[in-house]
Symmetry: C2
Subunit: 262 residues, 2 copies
């Protein structure tokens, strides 16, 4: 099967114009099929503040009320998505920016208010990825840029976790492609010592993961990402790589970051 | 050739949630290939005001400085575009929302500051429509929803007149389809008496247009629209219809509005 890269880029890179530009230059150079999933960054929070829309966060998750949904739709699916697409075009990488509503490409359902007693508001959990539409675009050598906004079957837009979108997209497309899923962010990979960037763990497999967890060697915030990575591998994704956004090309070549394997 | 409807919807309908909903219900019901081009409405102006970004208008045209470009990208390509797409999905009309940057589908150039001595800022005049991408989507029975934001060859996003986008899209696709271009807005059509909605002129051809203009029977604001309509017909568009957004189905069946013909 042909290779496909599904690459998630974190919010902190999006907030840094120079880092973003450099990342997109690397992304543009990747040969073959590719999908970029972007998070939100701080711009939505900033805009909400400017507009006097109060932001409620629970456990690091934004509660998305109607006004906040409007803001994240504008910022994620509008400003960030179109700026990324335009920058890729300027690098001669033909790209198309989509929300989950476009072509129903990522359909979700509103998270039930009974999930831990917290009502997250207009937040969606992914049900289905329209791999046919994505394949049609990829086959035209168009890079797909996905914003973390999805839609339910009633046409309700929903704010959705970008990591989850990357994972579900990678899983859905693993039937059609040899998919490598890359989570790129500010750290060099999964670190043994969270304060020391030179302690990157090159490879993690299920057995070593168990040992690392038992020895409490894994930074707590990393555990959901790793759990998701193993779930993706079990669903057909070939390889999951976690590492520094500035080292995208090295992540792909395998000379940097952490590889999660079966 | 198969029929394709290219339908422009004016800003005042977008600002009215009930009218927009009813319009989209009619749009969803149109059988066959269709493209919707939407304008901006007053939301961008409102948001600019809330954010303290001063809006400069010259001859009814917005001067698009960097901050205003950010706002219109958020509002047009984000909020309005994605809400229209989500509403169409809820009507079981599969739709995809694009800006001109997406798949380079509408490439423009920045309007020269020597155009009448006015510097319009980040405003684009359309150079090319990527009919191949649009055809690919249409052939999958996906309705395309175009936001009035385009891109130049350097990846600069540009604010662009939605009427022009509709016209250029209709012209470009007239090689592949039998295109009917519909401008839908708040009036019932081209009126003999601008204050009397019952004075719709059913048909205008080049000869009757000349007579109407000479007799000063045409409302001045209508003249650029009609000039563009005749230009579209000369470039291969089959028919141009101008009329009320609330009467979309009647505009298509020919029982309402003004038809502009060769």
């Amino acid at each position: 099967m042909e290779k496909l890269f599904v690459i998630k880029i974190g919010g902190n890179i999006i907030d840094d114009e120079i880092k973003l530009s450099s990342f997109l230059q690397s992304f543009a150079k990747i040969e073959g099929k590719k999908i970029l999933v972007h998070g939100g960054g701080k711009l939505a929070t900033k805009l909400a503040k400017q507009l006097g829309v109060e932001q409620q966060m629970i456990d690091g998750r934004r509660i998305t009320d109607a006004e906040t949904l409007k803001i994240v739709t504008m910022v994620y699916a509008g400003f960030i998505n179109k700026n990324i697409v335009a920058k890729l075009q300027s690098q001669h990488c033909n790209a198309i920016g989509l929300s989950g509503a476009d072509g129903n490409c990522i359909v979700s359902h509103k998270r039930g208010s009974n999930s831990g007693g917290i009502d997250y508001g207009f937040v969606g959990d992914v049900d289905a990825v329209n791999s046919i539409l994505l394949k049609t675009l990829l086959e035209q050598n168009i890079a797909v840029v996905l914003a973390p906004i999805t839609v339910d079957t009633n046409g309700q837009l929903l704010n959705t976790n970008a990591d989850t979108i990357a994972q579900e997209t990678a899983k859905a497309l693993s039937i059609l492609y040899d998919v490598e899923l890359i989570y790129s962010f500010e750290k060099s990979g999964v670190l043994l010592d969270v304060h020391d960037e030179t302690t990157v763990i090159a490879t993690i497999n299920p057995l070593s993961y168990q040992t690392l967890k038992e020895g409490k060697k894994i930074f707590e915030g990393m555990i959901p990402k790793l759990d998701n990575a193993f779930a993706a591998l079990q669903s057909g994704v070939t390889k999951v790589i976690i590492g520094k956004a500035e080292e995208l090309n090295q992540l792909i070549s395998g000379s940097s970051g952490t590889s999660i394997v079966q």
